[in-house]
Structures are given as structure tokens and as C-alpha cells.
């Protein structure tokens, strides 16, 4: 089975979010970039398929040279090869098209993406990719079992879980649950050394089309100060929630 893991380069969760150039761009100054958290679960799951079922694992991202560290990290974790599609990820549809072109060129059976990235929260790349490729698709995927032709996936739904049966070729939008947090792979010295020998292919973008344009950014209004209520005065809390906040 040939697996392609799609990862994206995002600001670390603790980053302060600022905008620059008249609020038209995210300001990367001082920001630590990491592999999108949802993607990490998929990458570790792919390693399981490699080790237990002999799958090959390639990893891809769309971005300029500044995103190569996350590809190197994925190779150090154990991916066999990496692809960087040399273009700025302008929107979800653009990214999906670039990934689809790579899949069609190289040929993969299972595409593992993250259900949503923590920067633009689009959550659309896996689904758009599945449509463009006419592959099966499961998102919010918290469990994936592949036994020959039979695939059982579990999707997290509002209030519970849904078990689905499907087949390859398949795209999944993974998240926490696909593997446990404590099982997430991190690169060790050997992995980092071996990663240096692995292929990192740079591909040109095949299209330039995006359907949306983030023309400006803004920040939420600054919060007012908190109203503290004494632990011995919970009646006041209830009264505030009822009369002032109007949520009780």
C-alpha cells in the first residue's frame, strides 16, 4: 500500500498572532512553525502501517523553502521520501489541486491529511482532494483499520462515533484518536541521520488557481477585565449570570 501523508506548516499553538503589511498578511516574525497537530496523528499512524503492513510512506507539503524543516522532521520520524510543491498555499482549493496532481502523477492508495489546520481552520483540503481524485473519504477519523480490501474507519460525530466501511483508494482527515497522544512519534538521532539520505523532491506547481482571497485580517476586541466573585458569595455569581450575562 502506498501512503501519502499531507502535512502543513503552521504557527505553534502558543504563538502570538499578529498581522503585518497593513493587516494583509500573517506576521511570521518570532513565530515557531510546526507540523499541524492534526497531521501528526496521521503521520504516526502511517508509520504503523509501514512497520506492520509493509506500506511505503511519502510525505508532502505545499510551500516555499521555509517549510522544509517540517518535511525533514517527517523524514526523521520515518517517512521514506518527501515532496515539496514549491508554491504558497493560497487557499484550500489550490492546495487540493496541487496534491491531486501529485497523487495522479505518482500514484497512491491512501492519503492521510489532518481534518483541519490550526492556522486558517479551513478543514477543506481532504474533502476537496477526495472529490478531485474520486477517492473514498472519511474525516474526523479517530480509527482506521485496513485488512486487505476491507477498511473500517471510525468518524467522530457530534455526540458520539460512527463506524464506516469503505475501500481503497481513500482520503482521510485524521485527528487525535487515530493514535494516542502518548504514541506520537518524535525523531530520534538515528532517524535524523537517516533522513539526510532520503529523497526530498521539489515539484513546481501545476496551476495557479485559487477561489478565495484573504484580503485582510483583524483581531478580536480586547476582553474586558474579569469579574471575580467570592467563593462564599455564589448567589452573586448566579445573579450576574442571570441578570448581567443573561446566560442563565
Amino acid at each position: 500500500m502506498k501512503i501519502l501523508v499531507c502535512i502543513s506548516n503552521v504557527p505553534d499553538t502558543t504563538s502570538k498572532i499578529n498581522f503585518t503589511e497593513n493587516n494583509t498578511k500573517f506576521d511570521p516574525a518570532g513565530v515557531q512553525f510546526v507540523i499541524n497537530p492534526n497531521d501528526e496523528f496521521g503521520l504516526t499512524r502511517a508509520m504503523w502501517f509501514k512497520e506492520k503492513q509493509g506500506a511505503s510512506v511519502s510525505v508532502v507539503t505545499v510551500g516555499n523553502a521555509s517549510v522544509e524543516p517540517i518535511l525533514r522532521k517527517a523524514l526523521a520520524i520515518g517517512a521514506d521520501e518527501g515532496y515539496r510543491i514549491d508554491a504558497l498555499p493560497t487557499d484550500g482549493f489550490f492546495v487540493a489541486q496541487e496534491l491531486a496532481a501529485l497523487v495522479k502523477e505518482v500514484g497512491f492508495d491512501l492519503i492521510i491529511a489532518g481534518r483541519e489546520s490550526i492556522d486558517y481552520n479551513g478543514g477543506m483540503v481532504p474533502g476537496m482532494l477526495a472529490h478531485l481524485l474520486d477517492f473514498n473519504y472519511v474525516t474526523n477519523c479517530i480509527d482506521l483499520k485496513i485488512e486487505g480490501q476491507d477498511i473500517t474507519a471510525i468518524r467522530e460525530i457530534d455526540g458520539g462515533k460512527e463506524t464506516l466501511s469503505t475501500q481503497l483508494p481513500l482520503v482521510i482527515g485524521g485527528q487525535k484518536g487515530l493514535v494516542e497522544e502518548s504514541d506520537l512519534r518524535i525523531p530520534n538521532m538515528r532517524g535524523i541521520m537517516m533522513a539526510r539520505q532520503k529523497q526530498l523532491h521539489i515539484k513546481a506547481a501545476t496551476t495557479t488557481e485559487n477561489l478565495t482571497n484573504d484580503k485582510q485580517f483583524s483581531k478580536p476586541e480586547l476582553k474586558g477585565t474579569i469579574t471575580m466573585v467570592d467563593a462564599s458569595d455564589l448567589d452573586t455569581l448566579i445573579s450576574l449570570l442571570h441578570n448581567e450575562a443573561k446566560v442563565l
Binding site: F93, G160, K219
Partner: protein
């Protein structure tokens, strides 16, 4: 060039978010000077939507579409959109919607903006404000293509009843059988329990509770308030509570009216997932807990003393305000 709204149903009843997206879609249609059309799958009573002012309701009554199926629902809504020449398709932010919407958007080659918090700021160019950076910012996004798709952020626009008398007609999509290649085999969901996505109030607890055996008072507080229960990531990772209760950046998002956080310090990943909640109350023994900086009301105190007292006082309050 109408506005098409996907109004979700579950077991024949409209979901709570259906009224919010219908309200948004009807207002959007007015803004654009066009008509509003809802599409619904197997509703028991489509006329319920007449309280929201729609011009037309397309009812899909098909056995093979009884249960949600992302590709099949996306193909159906796509066909409906093409049939009526929809200019904008409006969807919710539920798990099912977010599953189907990208397929639908790609199929229509529609510009798709999810997590939209208000009506378009401008129609030329068509610009919507949506959340970004896990609720730490907003993007003002121009939708460039002829057909546009808007995902309304949960509990932002609200449901606004307005009288209507919709023309109701049946719609039968022509679907390939291979569209059902991914099939739901079973659903594991507690019937009648308020979901985190739909709840007006969410009671959430963290490591400050010290162990799973102490959750009785959390469940009791939730029961008194008619709230959904949630938990922080460490609690979920430790197995004290089911994974489905984990709220935060890698868990479920919370956009409720009242979020009560008990024994949760307020790590950034947690805040990222719950900051869309309208009012946040924090109960924690540690006055330095970061959550106090991100909350609206706070109580410094021992949860094991404060929560039982709160439960008793709320029972009295509820009885007096019934």
C-alpha cells in the same frame, strides 16, 4: 440566482443549527435581493421552517438517503444548487456539514468560506468575515467564483424567526450507486443527550478534580443546568473521561453561550478550542491560573466546596425561576 440553504435534520426533526443557517440564508437573500431556498433530507414536517421566512423548501424523501452519507448528500445538494441556479450555498458548522461541504464546494467549484460569523461585509467584491488562527483572529475573505459557499460558525448569527409561507416541493436527485461506496455500519451515540455542539451551557472539568471518581458533582451540575459535559485534554488522555468530551484545539470546538470551567488551568490549546463561547466562568483554587485572564467571571476556591454549593443554589434558583 437564489440562496440555497442546507437545513440539517436528524430522525426527521430539524437540528438546532438548521434554524440558525435558515435565518442567515434568509437575511442573505434579502441583502442580495434574491430568494431563499432550503433543502432538507426526510423532514417529518418541512413546514416547521415557515417560522424562518424561507421562500421555498426542497424536500428530499429517499430511503437510501435516510442516514447521513457525505458524498451522497453533497451530490444531492450540488444537483439542487445547479437546478435552481444558486448563487450562494449556506451550510452549518456541524460535524456532518464539515464532512460534506468540501466535497460540495469542489463539485460546484464554489469559493468556500467556513466559520463565517456575520453577513457579507460587502457584495462587490463578495467579502465575508470568518474566524482564523483558532479564534485568535479573523480573516476577511473575498469569494471569487460565481458560486459561493458560506459555512456559518456555530452559535454566532443566531436563529431569528420571521413569518414565511414557503412553496414546498419534492426533489429527487439522480445518484450513481457508487456514490454510496463509503457506508455507515453503526452509530454509537447516547440518545436524548445534549451534544457539546448544540448545548447552551457546557460544564467542563480538568485535572483539578484529581480523579475520575470525583466526576459525580460535575455530572450533577450539568444535569441541573441541562448542560453538556466536557473535559480538558489531560483528563481525556488519562482516560478519566471519554475522548468525545475532550474540548480544545485537538478536541471538539465549543461555541456555547455559557462555558463553566472547573479545575482547568487554561492552557493555550484549551483556550483555542473554547474561546468562541460567549461567557466563560472559571472555578479554580489557583488565583494565578491563566484561565482567569481569559474568562468573564471567576471564583477562586476549592472545586469540592464550590461546586456542591453551586449545585444547591442553582436548584433553588431554578425552582424560583421555573
Amino acid at each position: 440566482m437564489p440562496v440555497l440553504i442546507y437545513t440539517e435534520t436528524e430522525k426527521g426533526n430539524f437540528k438546532k443549527n438548521a434554524f440558525e443557517v435558515a435565518s442567515y440564508g434568509v437575511a442573505l437573500a434579502k441583502q442580495l435581493g434574491t430568494s431563499s431556498v432550503a433543502v432538507a433530507f426526510n423532514p417529518t414536517n418541512a413546514t416547521v421552517l415557515n417560522e424562518y421566512g424561507l421562500d421555498q423548501i426542497m424536500v428530499v424523501k429517499q430511503d437510501n438517503l435516510q442516514g447521513f452519507n457525505a458524498k451522497a448528500y453533497a451530490a444531492t445538494i450540488s444537483e439542487a444548487a445547479l437546478k435552481i441556479g444558486a448563487a450562494v450555498v449556506v451550510v452549518s458548522s456541524s460535524a456532518d456539514s464539515k464532512y460534506a461541504s468540501p466535497i460540495l464546494a469542489a463539485s460546484l467549484k464554489a469559493s468556500y468560506a467556513p466559520n463565517v460569523v456575520s453577513l457579507p461585509e460587502s457584495t462587490e467584491p463578495f467579502t465575508v468575515k470568518r474566524t482564523a488562527f483558532s479564534n485568535k483572529g479573523f480573516a476577511h475573505t473575498v469569494l471569487l467564483s460565481d458560486v459561493k459557499m458560506i459555512g456559518v460558525a456555530n452559535n454566532t448569527y443566531g436563529a431569528h424567526p420571521t413569518e414565511g409561507n414557503a412553496v414546498i416541493e419534492n426533489f429527487s436527485p439522480s445518484l450513481d450507486t457508487n456514490i454510496f461506496s463509503t457506508k455507515a455500519i453503526s452509530v454509537d451515540k447516547v440518545a436524548g443527550k445534549t451534544t457539546i455542539a448544540d448545548a447552551d451551557i457546557v460544564v467542563s472539568a480538568g485535572r483539578g478534580l484529581k480523579g475520575p471518581e470525583n466526576w459525580g458533582m460535575i455530572e450533577e451540575l450539568a444535569r441541573v443546568l441541562g448542560a453538556a459535559t466536557a473535559c480538558s485534554k489531560p483528563v481525556s488522555d488519562l482516560g478519566w473521561r471519554p475522548h468525545g468530551e475532550h474540548v480544545g484545539q485537538t478536541g471538539k470546538p465549543v461555541a456555547t453561550n455559557l462555558y463553566i470551567a472547573i479545575g482547568i488551568s487554561g492552557a493555550i490549546q484549551h483556550l483555542a478550542g473554547v474561546s468562541a463561547s460567549k461567557v466563560k466562568v472559571v472555578i479554580n483554587t489557583d488565583p494565578e491560573a491563566p484561565f482567569f485572564k481569559a474568562a468573564d467571571y471567576g471564583v477562586v476556591g476549592d472545586a469540592f466546596v464550590v461546586v456542591p454549593q453551586l449545585i444547591e443554589k442553582l436548584k433553588v434558583f431554578k425552582a424560583a425561576n421555573a
